[in-house]
C-alpha cells in the first residue's frame, strides 16, 4: 500500500521534474528578449526567425510528438496569412492582435476538418493527402483572384498600429517585439501541453498506435486534437508574416515552403520543442549568408544539407551535440539535487 503510494508520488515527481524549467531555457528566452534592445539593426531577420520558429514549432507538435509526416503544412500557414491580410485589407478587424487570433482560429477550423483525412492510411497516403490539401488551397486562392489578388498576391494591405499605438515600422522594431511575444506565449502553452498526461499519451501514440489504443488511449481523438492545435499555430505564424510584411501571396501555400519547414525542424531536431526555434535561427542565418553568395541557387544548398543530414544520419548528428547536452543535463541535475528531489528510478 505504502509502496504503491510512493510510486504514485514519484510518478508525479517525475512528471513535475520533466516539466521543470531548465536553466538554459531561461538563458534562451532572456537572450531572445534582450535582442530587442541589443540588436536593433537586425530586427528584420529576427522577426523572420520568430514567425519561422513558431511555424516549425507547430510542425514539431505533429511530427515530433504525434509522428505525422506532413508535406503540406504550408496550407495552414497560407490560410492564416490570407485571413489576417484580408481582415486588415477590408478593415473588418483593425486590431492586429484580434485579427491574428481570428486567423489562428480559422486555421484551426481548417485543421480540424482536414485532420480526419490524415487519420487513415500509411505515411505515403498522409504525405499525399497533406500535399493535396495545400495544393487545393493554392488553386482556390489562385481561382478567386477578385478576393485574393490571384498570382500577384494580395496587395494594398494596411496594418493598423498594434493596440492603436505601436505602428509597424519598416525596421521591424514593433514586428519583432510583437512576434516574439506571441511566440513566447504560444510556446508556454505548447510546453504545458506536451508535459501534461495528454502530451505523454501523444508520445505513446507515436511509438505504437496499436498498443496505445490497447491501454485505453483513443488514438484518433488525440491525433485530431493535436493536428487541430498545430494548424492553429501554423495559421498564427502565417498571420504574423502577413501582418509584419503587409502582404500575402500564393507562394505561402507552396510545396517549397513545407519542404523548407521540414529542413528547419530537422536541423534543430524534432520532439523537444526547442528544435524548431533553434532550427529557425540556423536556417535564417544560413539563408542570409548563402543567398547573398548565390541568390538564384539557394535551393541547391537546402538540398545538399537535407541529403547530407540523412546520409550522415540524424542520430549521429545528435550524438555530436551530446557533450553540450551532457553539460546541460548536469546543470539540470544540480538544480534538482539542490531542491532535494529523489530520482524516480529508485523505486523501480
Amino acid at each position: 500500500m505504502i509502496a504503491s503510494r510512493s510510486n504514485i508520488l514519484s510518478a508525479t515527481d517525475w512528471l513535475a521534474a520533466r516539466a521543470r524549467w531548465h536553466p538554459l531555457e531561461f538563458v534562451f528566452w532572456i537572450a531572445a528578449f534582450a535582442a530587442i534592445y541589443l540588436f536593433p539593426d537586425r530586427h528584420l531577420i529576427l522577426t523572420e526567425i520568430a514567425w519561422l520558429g513558431l511555424f516549425a514549432l507547430s510542425l514539431d507538435l505533429i511530427l515530433g510528438y504525434a509522428g505525422i509526416i506532413s508535406l503540406g503544412h504550408a496550407a495552414f500557414f497560407g490560410f492564416g496569412a490570407y485571413t489576417a491580410a484580408l481582415l486588415a485589407k477590408y478593415e473588418i478587424i483593425n486590431e492586429p492582435v484580434m485579427a491574428m487570433l481570428i486567423a489562428g482560429v480559422a486555421a484551426m477550423v481548417l485543421g480540424f476538418v482536414t485532420s480526419f483525412l490524415v487519420l487513415r492510411g500509411s505515411d505515403l497516403t498522409r504525405l499525399m493527402v497533406t500535399l493535396g490539401v495545400a495544393l487545393v488551397l493554392r488553386e482556390l486562392a489562385n481561382r478567386y483572384g477578385w478576393l485574393t489578388g490571384g498570382a500577384d498576391g494580395l496587395q494594398g494591405v494596411t496594418i493598423q498600429p498594434l493596440f492603436g499605438t505601436f505602428r509597424f515600422d519598416m525596421f521591424g522594431h514593433t514586428g519583432y517585439t510583437y512576434c516574439l511575444t506571441v511566440l513566447f506565449v504560444l510556446f508556454l502553452i505548447a510546453r504545458r501541453l506536451v508535459n501534461s498526461p495528454f502530451g505523454l499519451s501523444l508520445l505513446s501514440v507515436k511509438g505504437n498506435p496499436l498498443r496505445a489504443s490497447a491501454i485505453g488511449i483513443s488514438v484518433d481523438a488525440r491525433l485530431v486534437a493535436i493536428y487541430t492545435l498545430a494548424a492553429g499555430y501554423a495559421g498564427i505564424a502565417g498571420a504574423l508574416l502577413a501582418q509584419t510584411t503587409a502582404f500575402a501571396s500564393l507562394e505561402m501555400f507552396s510545396f517549397d515552403r513545407s519542404a523548407d519547414l521540414l529542413l528547419v525542424l530537422i536541423i534543430g531536431g524534432a520532439g523537444y520543442l526547442y528544435g524548431g526555434l533553434i532550427g529557425a535561427i540556423i536556417f535564417k542565418f544560413m539563408q542570409d549568408y548563402l543567398s547573398a553568395l548565390t541568390p538564384q541557387y539557394w535551393p541547391f544548398w537546402i538540398g545538399l544539407v537535407l541529403v547530407a543530414i540523412v546520409l550522415v544520419g540524424r542520430d549521429r548528428i545528435s550524438s555530436w551535440t551530446a557533450p553540450i547536452r551532457r553539460i546541460a543535463a548536469q546543470m539540470n541535475w544540480r538544480t534538482l539535487r539542490s531542491r532535494q528531489i529523489a530520482a524516480p528510478t529508485e523505486d523501480l
Binding site: S122, L124, F300
Partner: protein, 286 residues
Amino acid sequence: MLTILFDGIAYGMLLFVLASGLSVTLGLMNFVNLAHGSFAMAGGYVTVVTVNRLGIPFFASLPIAFLVSAIIGFLFERTLYVHVYQKSHLDQVLFTIGLVFMSVAAVDYVMGSSQVFVQVPDSLHGKFDVFGIGVGRYRLLIIVICGLLTVALQFILSYTRFGSRLRAAVDDGRVASGLGINVNRIFAVTFAFGSGLAGLGGALGVEILGLDPTFPLKFMIYFLIVVTVGGTSSITGPFLASLLLGIGDVAGKYYVPSLGAFVIYTIMIVILIWRPQGLFARASAR
C-alpha cells in the same frame, strides 16, 4: 470529344511511362522516391541537348535519353540510395526532396531557368482526320511507343524469369531472398530501368508537358497520384490510373478550365480516403 479522349490517352500513356519506374521502387523497397521526376528531367534535357546542339535526329536521341537516365539512376542507386532504404519514411522523404532541390538548382545553373523546346522532325507535326477524330501525329507516336513499352513490360513481368523474381521480391522480399533471389541486384536493375523509362518519358514529354528546371516539382504530384491510386502490386493498376488521370486532366482543362488542377487534387484526396491502398490494388497479403 473523341479528340479530347485521344489527347487524354496520349497524355496518360506518357504519364505511365514516366511513373512506372516509381511504382516498382515503391512496391519493391517500400521506398518513397520523390526525386523520380529528376531522372525524367535528365532524359528531357539530354534530348534537348543532343537534338538542338549536336544535331542528332530526334528518334536517335530517344534511346540516348533512356540510356543516360538509366546510367544516372544506376549510379545514384549504388552510391546514395542504398544507404537510405533501411531508414524511416521521414528520412527517405527528406533525402529525396533534397535531391529534387539540388537537381532543380543544378539544371537551372547549367541550362538556364527558361523553358526549353526540342526540334521535332517535320513529319511529326500536324494532324490528320480519322473518322472525324483529329489525330495529332506526335501524340499518335507517343501512344504507339508507350503502348509497345507497356506490352513489353507486361510481357517481361509475366513471362520471364526476371519478371517472376521481381514479382516475388515485391510480394515478400524476405521470403524471396530466402529462396536465393538476390533482391538487391533485382532492385538495382529495376531502379536503373525505371529511371531510364522516366528519362524516355521526359524526352517524349518535352513537346507536350514542357520542360524547365522546375519539372520534378511540377509533376511530382502526378507521379505520386499514378502510383498511389494505381497501387504498387501490378502494372495494370498504375496503367489504368495514368489513363484516368490523363483523360481527366485533359478533359478537365478543356471543359472547366477555370477550375484548373483543382478537380484532379480533389479526386485524388477522395480516392485516397476511400481506398488508401489504391483503387486497383488487390487485397494485400501483408
